[in-house]
């Protein structure tokens, strides 16, 4: 079974107060030197069939229309396989 991973991150220009709150907690925990933290979402889609180009295109569409809100977020789509198949490249960011 193949796994397709969709990572969704807020666009750089969108304020990420959650990431900032995490970053501000770091010195208290003894972590120094981390200049910025951005928090995102990771979706792991286990695909029963082989991940064809067509299947990947549909997953990209899913990411574009549902998993990410491209007004504020960008996403990447990649195939994660046991044999270490090549990444499927980055999805478009609107």
């Amino acid at each position: 079974m193949a796994r397709v991973v969709v990572d969704v991150m807020l666009k750089p220009e969108i304020l990420d107060p959650q990431g900032q709150a995490v970053q501000r907690a770091l010195p208290r925990l003894g972590f120094e030197g981390i200049a910025d933290v951005r928090q995102g979402k990771r979706f792991e889609l286990d695909v029963a069939e082989p991940v064809t180009d067509e299947a990947l295109a549909r997953i990209r569409e899913l990411a574009e229309t549902f998993l990410a809100n491209t007004v504020i977020e960008h996403y990447t789509v990649r195939v994660e396989e046991a044999e270490g198949a090549e990444g499927a490249g980055a999805g478009a960011a609107a």
């Binding site: 807020l10 304020l15 549902f66 809100n69 007004v71 504020i72």
Partner: protein
Amino acid sequence: MTGGLGRIGVVTFPGSLDDSDARRAVRLAGGEPVELWHRDADLRQVDAVVLPGGFSYGDYLRCGAIARFSPVMEPLLEQARGGMPVLGICNGFQVLCESHLLPGALTRNDHLHFVCRDQRLRVERTDTAWTSDYGQGQEITVPLKNGEGGYVADERTLDSLEAEGRVVFRYVGGNPNGSRRDIAGISNEAGNVVGLMPHPEHAVETLTGPTTDGLGFFTSVLKRLVTA
């Protein structure tokens, strides 16, 4: 119009909280509230629709993101594009943005706190379906309660909203959530679709609300339906 009263549908999604208050506001304004369910495939011949506040689908994924694909949204999107008045309050505003009926998005409050307070707003535009009973520049006070109410859009979108007069409400007396340019509510180009984070439906009678300032939303749309 299908009858003597304006029939105003209020959609209930799983996790909607303010649907009964919205129906009550419609009734107090003199309209006929109609319950709509998220699985409905048609709008039961209503003349306008309110998308209420709450946490549809638990706010999972993003606020409004799953509700946007509910069966009821299909006819709603089509009729809204055809001119039917639609009001999105809080979570309903988030659904309208996720549906791209309105531009931009609502993000987590910049200070990360949930806000619950009576909020002053300035009515910036009175020629929408939902604001004709207000005066230009009138200040109103209605409850505000959200954790993800920060309105964001890119600068070009913000500029065009301002230029086209589509900023319908602005926060007064302090920006409660980091919304760009103090924007509390906006409309589509035609002015039939309005979304805002504050809750006019909670300010329709003195017993339970801080004011009755919210009633004007519902009387405005009912007048519009009578003259339509």
